[in-house]
């Protein structure tokens, strides 16, 4: 009853081409943004904002980047963490060496550097597909970390290889508290997510999907293979690069190559798989599951301890968490192989019929 587009007529092309064509969707997204920008900073404390929501947004952005490449353009990649590392270290270097540039141009340039690396390591995608491509991008993962660890220039010759990210300052305004950092992150993520949503319904996005579904057919109907695939790598790496810069600047505060290990690439791939391959919303849901759920399990175990009064050895609890988390991943993939985003889609379809299902 509430969620039905009956009676919403479009009388101009502009109306027909909106990002969210249904009125209810526009209201919902608008409310969500208002809630995220104005209500969350007020009700959230430092722990929620600094340790839970900010990393969630950053990983959602990285997952979104990988989703553009893997979910929309169909190119499997294991180099996500490496692209994040390029973004983080280049942002550090741009701010360090060209302080007059300002933080936002530095982030954009860092993203472009990641995009350049993405194009180079995307070249094999012109000849190989699927798992073989994943192995080729694995090379990127190892090469980038190796380069960051071996060439002192990237870390400004820091002896331990760890550098501390500079403060985020935009036009003299310092984003130094968790609330401000959260707002900065949210701003970047919101703009980039909307841009991605828009991109995916443009000619470029449709070309990506055509390549994903069948690349021979796509090239037959005139989609340039090289341009499309490399563009997918470039855009995806740009997103990952900006996510990496945010990870360093607005979350951890320090940048070290080891933080961007293969392990992180896998985690982001799992976010995409669990959230929903080829879905913007899925990137957010997947990131929430992978980032927040283990922390919740950890907190809940202590809480159950207090409630029941049963003192379980902490080592046992820590290991149990890993087991439960793994079991839940399998459970979700069996119940909903298309990811959490698909659950939302089903809910939307049910809502359209509610309260009079056939």
């Amino acid at each position: 009853m509430l969620y039905r587009e009956a009676g919403q007529f479009k009388s101009s092309y502009a109306q027909d081409q909106q990002i969210f064509p249904i009125l209810q969707d526009r209201i919902a997204v608008g409310l969500l943004l208002v809630f995220a920008f104005f209500v969350v900073p007020v009700i959230g404390d430092q722990y929620w904002l600094g340790a839970l929501i900010t990393p969630f947004l950053i990983f959602a952005l990285a997952a979104l980047g990988l989703n553009i490449l893997t979910g929309y353009a169909g190119q499997l990649s294991l180099g996500t963490a490496a692209f994040m590392a390029v973004g983080a270290f280049m942002a550090y270097n741009f701010v360090l060496r060209m302080p007059w540039l300002g933080i936002i141009p530095s982030f954009i340039l860092a993203g472009l550097c990641a995009a350049a690396v993405g194009i180079v390591f995307g070249l094999p995608s012109l000849r190989i597909k699927g798992f073989y491509l994943a192995v080729a991008t694995l090379a990127c993962q190892f090469f980038v970390l190796w380069a960051l660890q071996r060439f002192g220039w990237f870390t400004n010759y820091s002896s331990s290889g760890v550098v501390t990210a500079q403060q985020i300052t935009v036009f003299g305004f310092a984003f130094d508290t968790p609330v401000r950092k959260y707002l900065f992150t949210l701003g970047v993520v919101a703009i980039m997510a909307l841009a991605a949503k828009n991109l995916m319904r443009s000619e470029t996005g449709r070309a990506f999907m055509a390549v994903r579904d069948m690349d021979v057919a796509a090239s037959v109907i005139g989609i340039p293979m090289m341009k499309t695939k490399l563009l997918a790598f470039a855009i995806s790496s740009f997103y990952c690069g900006v996510a990496g810069a945010l990870h360093a600047f607005s979350y951890l505060g320090t940048v070290e190559p080891e933080a961007y290990s293969l392990d992180l690439s896998f985690r982001i791939l799992f976010m995409v798989i669990i959230g929903g391959v080829g879905s913007i919303l899925g990137s957010f849901l997947g990131a929430a599951f992978i980032v927040l759920f283990p922390i919740f399990l950890n907190l809940a175990s202590g809480w159950i301890n207090v409630l029941t009064g049963v003192e379980v050895s902490h080592a046992v609890v820590s290991n149990l968490e890993a087991i439960i988390f793994g079991a839940l991943i399998i459970f979700f993939l069996i119940v909903e192989p298309a990811g959490l985003a698909r659950l939302w889609q089903i809910a939307k379809e049910k809502l359209r019929l509610w309260p009079f299902p056939h």
Partner: protein
């Protein structure tokens, strides 16, 4: 509708899980953010267990510190930076005065916490790890790399090698290989080794082992080609036994391998079996249960069926006693703070910071604590956040660690200028004005 109510209940439980609980007033909260899973769990569980055991003993025996009970809460960091930051943010507001000190037990997490903790006014004790140049307390008021930092340890190690070779002048022309864990922790000593190589005229080769270090064939083949006189093993976790086994395989004598203190625990050598026999390692604490303080822990904690170590054989192991030393340092810092800011009151992080900076554990105090020989005397000051600086060397005989040296002092003439230069550079980058120590009270 039933499903909806289940969903709402689940949500409510989820929300409750994320919020903390209130605490009683006369308590001092210390976060126990360590790790009990993953490749580094032996270190995390042993160290964390020792610290908690000491606090539990203080609570049982003395009712806390001047009547203020010590409380703690465990948080699993998995030795990962992001989880470490999450645990820190979770624990910093707990207890009546918030977290009083934090032991990150990871060099990476320490780096991530330096600015956050300084802003929150919570002292970070990175005992024997972390950022070396934080020893300069003028630039890093809240960071305490107590007892001995990595660079000091390293100079003591070169001194030990010199002693074994029959004098520092004999080091000329010798070849030393530094096998290190490829992380912030591992890389930390490269510059100080390079400086010493120049000073004493030995050749140094740095060989990296990628995390977690369970594959080292190629590195040890490289060692065999170089034929070094000594190998410094800067390992961590599973990397250590693997290194010893790989050394045995290529036939490199174990009596020429010198481990750092994160490579010198029972957990590092027992898995290597016979391959570990004769291996040397540094230590800033000694193992064993004969120290009076360990006996007290056994009496007041373990006899009552409590205690953190599930495996009783690990009581008194290197990591466990190192945790006890961490507990002593923490409790003494709080005690010192109470002397100035009010006995029997919970201290804030800022007050504990003062206590740590004015910490003076001399031989007499060590005797009262029952920790003579367990650790070295410690005197911290505004300018020197390290305080001790001496190292003992141990040798593994296949069954236990034997002490083979006296406390060997570090060479501060090398370390201190490097610390100050590095700290000054950090201060310049960050726009920090170093404190004037003569004005500190």
């Amino acid at each position: 509708m039933k499903r909806t109510s289940i969903a709402i209940t689940a949500l409510a439980i989820a929300a409750a899980g994320f919020t903390g609980s209130a605490a009683a007033q006369n308590e001092q909260f210390i976060p126990a953010n360590f790790y009990w899973v993953g490749p580094y769990a032996p270190g995390g569980s042993g160290f964390g267990g020792g610290m908690i055991d000491y606090f539990a003993m203080l609570n049982e025996r003395d009712g806390g510190i001047n009547g203020v009970k010590l409380t703690w809460e465990k948080c699993e960091t998995e030795y990962r930076n992001d989880r470490g930051v999450e645990c820190y943010e979770r624990s910093k507001k707990k207890g009546p005065t918030g977290a009083s000190v934090i032991h990150p037990l990871s060099t990476g997490i320490t780096y991530s916490l330096i600015e956050k903790a300084t802003a929150d006014k919570i002292p970070v004790i990175s005992m024997g790890y972390g950022r070396t140049d934080a020893s300069d307390g003028r630039v890093f008021p809240y960071i305490f790399p107590l007892i001995t930092n990595y660079w000091s340890q390293n100079t003591a190690k070169i001194k030990f090698i010199g002693m074994k070779e029959g004098g520092m002048d004999k080091l000329k022309g010798k070849k030393i290989v530094n096998i290190y864990h490829d992380s912030a922790y591992g890389k930390e000593t490269i510059p100080v080794l390079d400086v010493q190589a120049k000073k004493y005229g030995f050749q140094i080769t740095h060989i990296a082992v990628p995390h977690p270090g369970n594959e080292q064939q190629s590195q040890w083949l490289q060692v065999r080609q170089i034929r070094p006189d000594w190998v410094i093993l800067r390992g961590w976790g599973v990397m250590n036994p693997t290194a010893l086994k790989a050394a045995a395989k290529v036939g490199f004598p174990r009596t020429k391998i010198l481990g750092v203190w994160w490579s010198g625990a029972e957990e590092d050598v027992i898995p290597a079996g016979d391959a570990a026999k004769g291996y040397f390692a540094a230590g800033f604490n000694l193992p064993g249960t004969n120290f009076p303080v360990m006996q007290e822990i056994l009496k007041y904690v373990y006899k009552k069926g409590k205690g953190e170590m599930d495996d009783k054989a690990r009581i008194g192991s290197i990591y466990h006693t190192r945790g006890v030393v961490a507990g002593i340092v923490t409790a003494e810092g709080i005690r010192k703070a109470q002397e100035r800011f009010g006995k029997g009151k919970p201290m804030t992080g800022e007050q504990v910071r003062w206590g740590l900076e004015n910490l003076n554990i001399d031989e007499k105090r060590l005797k009262e604590l029952g920790a003579v020989g367990l650790m070295q005397p410690l005197k911290v000051s505004c300018i020197d956040h390290e305080g001790g600086g001496a190292v003992k060397f141990l040798q593994w005989d296949g069954k236990k660690w034997n002490v083979v040296s006296d406390w060997i002092s570090s060479d501060q003439s090398i370390v201190r200028p490097m610390v100050e230069a590095s700290a000054a550079q950090y201060a310049k980058e960050k726009g920090i004005t170093p404190r004037d120590c003569s004005k500190e009270k």
